[in-house]
């Protein structure tokens, strides 16, 4: 099954369809929720940032893996 949800520019995948945009918005929403959750439990700004960046990179990794398998492939 050929899915064209994302297009790749460099190492970043951009949405190319409505489903792609939905996935990107969900990822951003989860990242914001994670930030608020970590910030409410952390003791300092650096503590928040260290844990949040770790989570943000994991969200970016999962997003990229989904985009990798559903990207529109160019014919060389």
């Amino acid at each position: 099954m050929k899915l064209n949800w994302f297009t790749r520019k460099g190492i970043i995948y951009w949405p190319a369809s409505i489903i792609g945009w939905v996935i990107l918005v969900l990822a951003l929403a989860y990242a914001i929720y994670t930030f608020i959750d970590i910030d409410s439990r952390s003791h300092s700004g650096s503590d928040t940032m260290i844990n949040f960046v770790f989570n943000l990179l994991l969200i970016g990794l999962i997003y990229t893996v989904i985009a990798y398998f559903t990207e529109a492939r160019k014919v060389d």
Binding site: I50, V53, V65, Y68
Partner: protein, 165 residues
Amino acid sequence: MKEKDEFLKQMENLKVPEVNPNEHPQMVKMAIMNAGRSAALGVWLIVVPCYFLFCVFMYYFSHIRVGSSWFAAMFTLMASLDKTRYIDFLGPVIMVVLPIICIIINGLAITHVSVLRPGPDQSKVREFNITIKIRVWNILLILVSLAILGIFISYVMTENISISN
């Protein structure tokens, strides 16, 4: 008659190009995976363990005390991950599985493997050729992944030795 002789003489003096049938034919060496796509995913696969190691380094350099070491900082962080419910599996996955996937996909993107006959007169002989394309980003990602794996394996060995002692 004279023209015919000249023509025949010209034809006899023609230089025929030499063709060597034993010469190796040119071939297109296709890799199994796309190098650009593999590099893009590879960056995201190793950015998490790289960030983790960066945090460990920062922890070490900001907590300089007698008896502490780089491995001690890593013990603390890995132990805290192990103790946290639902993400206790995350440490080994980040430090081992992701770099291994990165090595595999980037390795497949730059490697071409073929089995060939060296010549028409050697029907029973086979040559196994491995060609590695020099693509800087893919090779760099493989080397960084190997470094991450090496650091984690040395950490596990050191931990086991310290526990057994």
